[in-house]
C-alpha cells in the first residue's frame, strides 16, 4: 500500500516537475487524489475538484514525499556517523485538500463511519533507542531557550538539501495563509450563504437541524470515540443534501474565483512559490529514485 502510494506520488511529482519547465504559469496539474478504503474516490463528491491554491501549497501526500526523502537522507547521514536510525514508516490514509474541506462529502465514509475518520494509534518512536548521542546527531541540540532547532543534526541537513539552502522546507507561508483566508472568506459569500440555507432546509426536511455543513461535522455529539447510528444517518443525509443542492460545486466555485484573483494579483510572488514547490518535489523525487 505504502509502496504503491509512493510510486504514484513519485510519478505525480515528476510530472509536476516536468510541467514547470514548459512555463505554463497558472495551469495546475490536477493533483493525484488519495483513494483509500475509508474514503474511496468512487463515492466522493470532490474527487475531480482541485482548487487553484493546490498548485502552491503542499497536500499531505506531497509533504509525505518530502518527508520520505528527508528521512532517507537523514538515515544515510546517521549511518555515516555510525548510528542505525530507522524512522517510523507507519502511515494513516491521506486526507486530500478537498476531501473533507466542506465537511463530509463521501457517501461510503458517511455510511461506514459517520463523521469520523478512523485513524491508527500512533506508533512507538524509533528514536528512544538511539540514546542521547544518536538523538543529538539526528536532530541537533535544543536551542538556548529550550525549544527545538528545526535546522539541527542530520534532519536539518536533509531539509536544507531538499529546500535548497536557506529556503523554507515544505510549504510557503503566504500560500498557506491564502488557503486559509479563502476558506474563511468564502463562508461569508452570499452565494455560499444561500446554498447553506438550501442545504439546511433539505436537512430539516429529513429531521436534522444545522445551519451549515461545518456545524454538522463540528457537532459535539459526533465527538465520541465510537460512531453512533444517529451519526451515520445524519452524515448520510448530509451527503445526500450536498448532492441535491449542489453545495460542493457552489462553494468550490466561490473559493476558486477568489483564489484565482489573488493569484493573478500576486502573480510574481506566487510564480516564485510554485517554482520553489516544484523544485523541492523534484529534489525529493530524485532522492527517492536514487535510494530505491
Amino acid at each position: 500500500m505504502r509502496k504503491t502510494t509512493a510510486t504514484a506520488l513519485l510519478a505525480t511529482a515528476l510530472l509536476l516537475a516536468g510541467c514547470s519547465g514548459s512555463g505554463d504559469g497558472d495551469k495546475t496539474a490536477v493533483p493525484e487524489q488519495p483513494d483509500s478504503s475509508i474514503a474511496p474516490k468512487s463515492s466522493s463528491l470532490t474527487a475531480d475538484l482541485a482548487l487553484p491554491i493546490e498548485g502552491y501549497i503542499f497536500s499531505e501526500s506531497e509533504l509525505g514525499l518530502m518527508t520520505d526523502a528527508m528521512s532517507s537522507l537523514a538515515q544515510r547521514c546517521m549511518k555515516r556517523s555510525g548510528f542505525d536510525y530507522r524512522p517510523d514508516d507507519t502511515q494513516s490514509p491521506d486526507i486530500g485538500v478537498m476531501d473533507r474541506r466542506y465537511g463530509i462529502a463521501n457517501s461510503h465514509t458517511a455510511e461506514a463511519y459517520g463523521y469520523h475518520f478512523p485513524t491508527p494509534k500512533a506508533g512507538e518512536s524509533a528514536t528512544k533507542s538511539l540514546g542521547e548521542a544518536g538523538r543529538v546527531a539526528l536532530a541537533g541540540k535544543p536551542l538556548a531557550d529550550g525549544s527545538l532547532d528545526p535546522d539541527g543534526g542530520c534532519i536539518g541537513e536533509a531539509k536544507r538539501r531538499l529546500a535548497g539552502g536557506d529556503a523554507e522546507f515544505g510549504p510557503d507561508k503566504s500560500a498557506r495563509e491564502l488557503n486559509m483566508e479563502s476558506f474563511v472568506r468564502s463562508q461569508k459569500d452570499p452565494r455560499v450563504l444561500t446554498v447553506f440555507r438550501t442545504w439546511s432546509s433539505c436537512m430539516a426536511a429529513k429531521g436534522y437541524r444545522y445551519a451549515s455543513p461545518m456545524d454538522a461535522i463540528d457537532d459535539p455529539a459526533f465527538g465520541a470515540e465510537k460512531t453512533s447510528p444517529a451519526e451515520i444517518s445524519t452524515a448520510r443525509a448530509d451527503v445526500e443534501c450536498k448532492k441535491k443542492t449542489g453545495l460542493v460545486s457552489t462553494w468550490f466555485d466561490v473559493e476558486s474565483e477568489w483564489q484565482r484573483a489573488e493569484i493573478d494579483e500576486n502573480a510574481e510572488e506566487l510564480a516564485r512559490i510554485k517554482r520553489h514547490k516544484t523544485d523541492q518535489l523534484k529534489r525529493a523525487a530524485a532522492e527517492l529514485g536514487e535510494s530505491r
Partner: protein, 138 residues
C-alpha cells in the same frame, strides 16, 4: 493522557520556579522534560496560546479529532492563556517528531481547510483566525 499532562505540568511548574527552563544547558539535553517539544527528539505536537511558542501550552502524542475539553496549561513559557480552551485558540505550534507530519484542521473530525507542519518544525499557525479544531498525524 490527561493525567500525564497534569503530572508533567506540575513538574514543569516546579522546574520553572527554579528557573531551570530558562537556563537549560543544551549539553544536558535530557534534562529538558519530555512533552515540551524542545527536548532532543521528543515525538509530540505542541500548541501555544500566543505566537512564537509562548504563553499557555498543550501537547499531544495522539490524534485529536476534537480539541474540545482540553485547556492550555503552564509549560513554563508564559502564563498568558493558561486555563483557556485549546480548541480554536492556538496561535503557534511545534512538531518535534522526527519523521511524521502534523496536520491541524479548521474544523472537528479532520474537516475544513488544513495546515501541514513538517517534522522538526515550529512556527505560527498560518492564519489570524485561531482555527485549530482537530489534529492528525500523517
Amino acid at each position: 493522557m490527561r493525567f500525564r499532562t497534569s503530572a508533567l505540568t506540575a513538574a514543569l511548574a516546579a522546574a520553572g520556579a527554579l528557573g531551570m527552563l530558562a537556563t537549560a544547558a543544551p549539553a544536558q539535553a535530557d534534562d529538558i522534560p519530555d512533552g515540551l517539544c524542545g527536548g532532543v527528539i521528543d515525538v509530540d505536537y505542541c500548541l501555544w496560546y500566543n505566537s512564537g511558542q509562548r504563553g499557555g501550552w498543550t501537547n499531544t502524542y495522539e490524534n485529536r479529532s476534537n480539541w474540545a475539553g482540553w485547556n492550555f496549561s503552564n509549560g513554563g513559557q508564559g502564563t498568558n492563556g493558561v486555563g483557556t480552551p485549546v480548541k480554536n485558540n492556538a496561535a503557534s505550534y511545534a512538531n518535534s517528531h522526527d519523521s511524521k507530519t502534523g496536520v491541524s484542521y479548521f474544523n472537528s473530525n479532520y474537516a475544513g481547510a488544513s495546515d501541514v507542519a513538517p517534522p522538526r518544525d515550529k512556527g505560527n499557525l498560518s492564519n489570524t483566525y485561531n482555527n485549530n479544531a482537530s489534529f492528525r498525524w500523517r
